[in-house]
Amino acid sequence: MKFDIIVAGVGGQGVLSVSAIIASSAMHEGLSVKQSEVHGMSQRGGEVQANLRLSDKPIASDLIPRGMASLVLSMEPLESLRYLPYLSDTGTVLTSTDAVTNFASYPEMEGLLAQIRALPHAILIDAERLARQAGSARATNMVMVGAASHLLPVKLETIEHFVRTLFAAKGTKVVETNLKALAAGREAAASR
């Protein structure tokens, strides 16, 4: 079993938290994990991505080769397209439809979403709205983890456990909001 994921987004969107929860869950279930992150300058509103590799065998490279990723999990529509060359023929693009338009030449939105919908395996999630319904827009990234949970080679209960662990220091209310967001994302993606 081998499952390569590119988690994509913009600095500040919680890409590393998404990646950390999936990585911890996979580790807990006995899989080998390598997770390559972006720190420093790019985090200031630039493109951020994490290469996350899960396998039941030892993993050599920290970076995913082209054409090998099973999933591009993006917090933002434009960023979901940036990593297509890394996606395998059978891989899925799962993206939040909430755009971060912090620069002038952001493409026209309907055309962008149409391009994503035209991909062989694409799931679009209105993640921020679901996160607000769950209690906080800041839980958008957990909606995306929930939406991805159908595809990930880890159990939902394990992910829930690590959502609790990650947010434990911020109090029970934050934990509950994020668990609700996780469930909402899972439900939204179930029908796709």
């Binding site: 913009v10 600095g11 990585a23 911890s24 580790m27 080998s32 994990v33 390598k34 997770q35 390559s36 992150e37 972006v38 720190h39 420093g40 300058m41 790019s42 985090q43 200031r44 509103g45 630039g46 493109e47 290469n51 993993i59 050599a60 490279s61 920290d62 970076l63 995913i64 080769p65 082209r66 054409g67 090998m68 990723a69 434009l78 960023e79 397209l81 940036r82 297509l84 060359p85 890394y86 996606l87 395998s88 023929d89 891989g91 912090n102 620069f103 030449s105 952001y106 493409p107 391009q115 991909l119 062989p120 220091a169 911020k170 109090g171």
Partner: protein, 537 residues
């Protein structure tokens, strides 16, 4: 012992703790920052080891040297360009007889994810004639750091651990060993060896050179330099270093028959082992992260008939980070293709100052004050404010190295430009901006130093500036800036008109002035509030 998932940086930090580390010193620099951040967290929780941020890499290195003089183990960590700042103590410390183990962890940044150049620190280790260990996995980052302290005491030299961004900032599994106790305090028994007066230094230099064969014997027999598949009648062989090994293994299955493979993880490179390995081969591909260091060395030690391929020969790109795809094509395998959409070109998303960042307000006031000065020059430095080079600000015209904005402004002003503004951050100013300011004060150079004081080291994640920013004004006044040309402003839109006017006046002044624009970084304010909330929750 326990298994855990750590960043490469964290694996180095934990390896140092388990080697009996007494003290760690550093200045923040991507991608090395997380080594010291981990150690500071560890210290808060366990009381030991000492872990501190320092004014710059040179001071950090010298403090580590003092720990070694006292017989205890010290770690100093930095990014590759930080080693340039610490180069003076680093080079000289190779000559003294290291007492307590001294390990220098240097994180290189091939591909320049957040750096001005991609220099290769293996050359610096070679330059100093010391041992360099280069991990290719998280486990090795931990194990090699532990071993490096033993080697340092055995050979009485500093040992370099060379990391690259991709290892420093990726997470992988690490199994930790049994922790070792700290060394007792035991002052160097050979204090003369620490006094590099010429007579001593000549003796110490010779001693260092005399130890070279012993170092080479170590690297020739250590398990970090390994050969697989030797003795087969192959014509083609592969030599890897660092993470290149992983990218090679990633492609191995598709090669059909595995070529003979030498991996080099410890330097000085094992020349005899390389000669033996290359022996019957007609072609060798060298895959290494950074400079064509081994590739060049190889040309001096193997017969000219052997075709040596690598970054210098053009078989591997000469610049940038390696990855599985580059290594794949270098091996002659067909490139993999992923999902492609015809005609799809995506705009890139450059990094930028956070919305509401005080630096943005300073740039706004400065640009307004510079209107009407066709010869105006703004030299800048390295930090978040370097992003002022990009639209919408386009406010700065240079970024070379830490502290350079001040010295360059002095030179530009003395060459005849006016007005000249040097932009620098509070932490960078204390790192290496104070000394060029002394030069400018001596000459009363007609320039303005604009210190953007956001009360933190912003770009590397908000570490504390070495002294609180409230002390900057007193420091600058103490250096000898006259009070009527020293201003402290609040970098905020509501003071824009006033700030512009003050700056305009100083730009017109034909002498030295210093303006400190203060407002705390939004990120550190946010983090402070979060920490407070977590503490009271």
């Amino acid at each position: 012992m326990s298994e855990m998932v750590l960043l490469g940086d964290e694996a180095v930090a934990l390896g140092a703790v388990h080697a009996g580390l007494t003290a760690a010193y550093a200045y923040p620099g991507t991608p090395s920052t997380e080594i010291t951040e981990y150690l500071i967290r560890y210290q808060r929780k366990h009381g030991r080891p000492i872990a501190q941020w320092c004014a710059n890499e040179k001071t950090a290195y010298e403090e580590a040297l003092g720990v070694s003089f006292a017989g205890r183990r010290a770690l100093v960590s930095m990014k590759h360009v930080g080693l340039n700042v610490a180069a003076d103590p680093f080079m000289n410390s190779a000559l003294i007889s290291i007492n307590g183990g001294l390990v220098v962890a240097v994180a290189d940044d091939p591909g320049m994810h957040s750096s001005q150049n991609e220099q290769d620190s293996r050359l610096f280790a070679d330059f100093a004639r010391v041992i360099c260990l280069e991990p290719s996995s998280h486990q090795q980052a931990y194990d090699m750091t532990r071993e490096a302290f033993d080697l340092s005491e055995r050979f009485q030299i500093p040992i370099m651990i060379r990391l690259v961004t991709r290892l420093a900032h990726s997470r992988g599994n690490v199994t930790a060993g049994e922790p070792r106790a700290e060394n007792p305090v035991a002052k160097s028994a050979t204090p003369a060896s620490w006094i590099l007066l010429p007579a001593n230094a000549r003796r110490q230099w010779r001693a260092l050179l005399d130890r070279q064969p012993e170092m080479r014997r170590y690297t020739a027999s250590c398990p970090h330099n390994t050969v697989t598949g030797a003795g087969s009648p192959a014509e083609f062989g592969v030599i890897t270093t660092g993470l290149a090994r992983n990218y090679y293994i990633e492609n191995l299955e598709d090669l059909g028959i595995a070529p003979p493979h030498l991996h080099v993880g410890a330097y000085p490179f094992p020349a005899d082992a390389i000669r033996a390995f290359v022996g019957g081969l007609r072609r060798v591909l060298v895959l290494e992260e950074g400079y064509p260091y081994l590739e060049r060395a190889l040309r001096g030690i193997v017969p000219p008939a052997v075709d040596i391929q690598g970054r210098e020969s053009g078989h591997v790109p000469p610049d940038g980070e390696l990855n599985p795809d580059i290594v794949r094509t270098s091996l002659g395998l067909e490139a993999r293709r992923g999902l492609m959409i015809e005609g799809l070109t995506l705009p890139s998303r450059p990094p930028q100052l956070c919305a509401g960042c005080p630096h943005g307000d300073s740039f706004h006031a400065m640009t307004a004050a510079l209107a009407g000065f066709p010869n105006a020059v703004v030299t800048s430095d390295i930090g978040c404010y370097t992003l002022g080079a990009l639209p919408p600000y386009s406010a700065i015209q240079s970024c070379v190295c830490m502290g350079a904005s001040v010295g360059m402004a002095k030179g530009a002003a003395e060459a005849g430009l006016h007005p000249v503004v040097a932009v620098i951050g509070d932490s960078t100013f204390l790192h290496s901006g104070v000394t060029p300011l002394l030069d400018a004060i001596t000459e009363d150079t007609p320039m303005t130093l604009l210190i953007l004081d956001n009360k933190t080291v912003g770009m590397t994640g908000g570490q504390p500036t070495i002294r609180p920013s409230s002390q900057l004004e007193g420091l600058v006044r103490g250096l000898g800036i006259p009070a009527d040309h020293l201003h402290v402003l609040e970098a905020h839109p509501r003071h824009d008109a006033h700030n512009t006017e003050v700056l305009r006046r100083e730009f017109e002044h034909r002498g030295l002035s210093v303006v400190i624009a203060v407002r705390e970084c939004l990120e550190t304010i946010k983090r402070g509030k979060q920490e407070q909330a977590a503490a009271t929750a």
